[in-house]
């Protein structure tokens, strides 16, 4: 299977990898500092060639945040999911906008909706929220808006 080959390939690349079980695609969990070097290797390695970041998002687990990167290769058509655990109070991770340009917009969205700080992002400003937005990040689980939010 495509996924098994990929797992083997990546295991060669990294020494202590741990793939998450279940899920459609192989999933790697990394530390925040490991992300950028690995991303560059994933993109530039000819056998892996992950040139397309098709989804970038964040999940608020109440105790910590998890960044999720969905990668695929337009050449080999294999996909990989990268996960990065972040501290909830001061989340910061290296920006991937130089690796995959699409990350620039997606990271700006995550920045304002989850408050994750992307280091070395070229243009980290509010994209969706109005200028001068103060207060909590809307997609965090503890966000409350007594006026506009309707609970069902």
């Amino acid at each position: 299977m495509l996924n098994d080959e990929l797992r083997a390939n990546i295991s060669q690349l990294l020494t202590n990898t741990s793939f998450e079980e279940g899920g459609e695609w192989p999933t790697l969990t990394l530390g925040a500092d490991e992300l950028l070097p690995l991303a560059l290797r994933l993109r530039d390695d000819d056998a892996l060639f992950f040139n397309y970041l098709f989804c970038l998002t964040c999940i608020d687990w109440k105790t910590h945040l998890t960044m999720v990167y969905h990668l695929t290769s337009t050449k080999y058509r294999h996909s990989l999911v990268l996960k990065v655990k972040l501290d909830r109070d001061k989340p910061a991770v290296e920006s991937l906008s130089f690796v995959w340009r699409t990350a620039e917009f997606h990271e700006r969205e995550v920045y304002e909706l989850f408050g994750v700080d992307f280091i070395h992002h070229p243009d980290l400003r509010l994209l969706i929220l109005p200028d001068g937005w103060e207060g909590k990040n809307p997609l965090r689980k503890d966000f409350e808006d007594p006026i506009n939010m309707i609970r069902l």
Partner: protein
Amino acid sequence: MFEEQGITPEGDLIVNVGPQHPATHGVLHLVITLNGETIKKVEPHLGYIHRSIEKMCESLSYRQFIYVTSRMDYLSAHINNHACALCVEKGLQVEVPPKAQVIRVLLDELTRIASHELWWGAMAMDIGAFTPFFHAFRERETINDIMEETCGARLTMNFMMPGGVMQDLHPNFQARVKSFIQQYKHKIGEYAELLTGNIIFKNRMKNVGVLSPEDAISYGCTGPTARGSGVSCDIRKLYPYEVYGQVDFDEILETGGDSLSRYMVRIREMQQSIRIIEQLIDGIPEGDFQAKTKAVLKLPKGEFYQRVETARGELGVYIVSEGGTTPYRIKFRSPGFSNLSVLDRIARGGKLGDLVAMMGTLDLVIPDIDR
């Protein structure tokens, strides 16, 4: 944020295009830096129609949240619903009856034609030709009438549900779709006469907003936008869902990368959609239009990702489930969001008139970008 006079230190003019502007077709706000007529920078500002659908979905059950997604890309509402239904089915591991699969694909393709028709008219209007808009709407109205008869709605269909579709097709459906196909084949020549073959139109489109294949992939462009640059990215072909694997159709690729290529991809794609409908319309299988599902759906703990091809590109639905009746986190990877991000890249150095041509051929739907 902007200087008081709207002029940069280099003497360039800063112009706000939108949020209310005839060319943005919605509430997109672009801040463009102009040197004379030449664009130096395009900066999108979003959020004017952000309804926080992702947050809303966190408090809606798996049956309810599908209907909110019709309001994302309202021109391919059906396909949005389809993506959500497929994602929930993936979690539930429900087998969809063949009849429902065929109905879904038929309605998807009709939606795609309707969406491309609207794009065609609106794009023509952007570059100054008014008449195509009305001609496009003639065909679109026919599709909307067919949709209304079967789904009860013309724009936000809400016809899909986990396990199948809401009801059976209307008895008139087959006959009306067939007559639509006849009508459409008759009219497609008119489009070429009216716009595609026009010399002014060709000059406006050729070599405008050239997007290289590498950029298209790196910026995450999908759908006709990327296929105009020769990037094969049709989810229907690459990761077939429903009966797309069994029908015969071509993935349209153009290699120019300019606005004209993107235009031609969409025009030719409409004909492929007609081809798919023609293959399926006579062989709608007998049987149930719904699989048996529980009244209250509970997805197992885990993560589910489903991608489908909407009229604008790849729509991804990412559901993170904690095992409850509502999604813990849901993310919609909308095609318009990534396609918009490339605008600055391709618009630089172009003329102001080119910008509307580029925005037209990127086919931006603002609620899809904002969600």
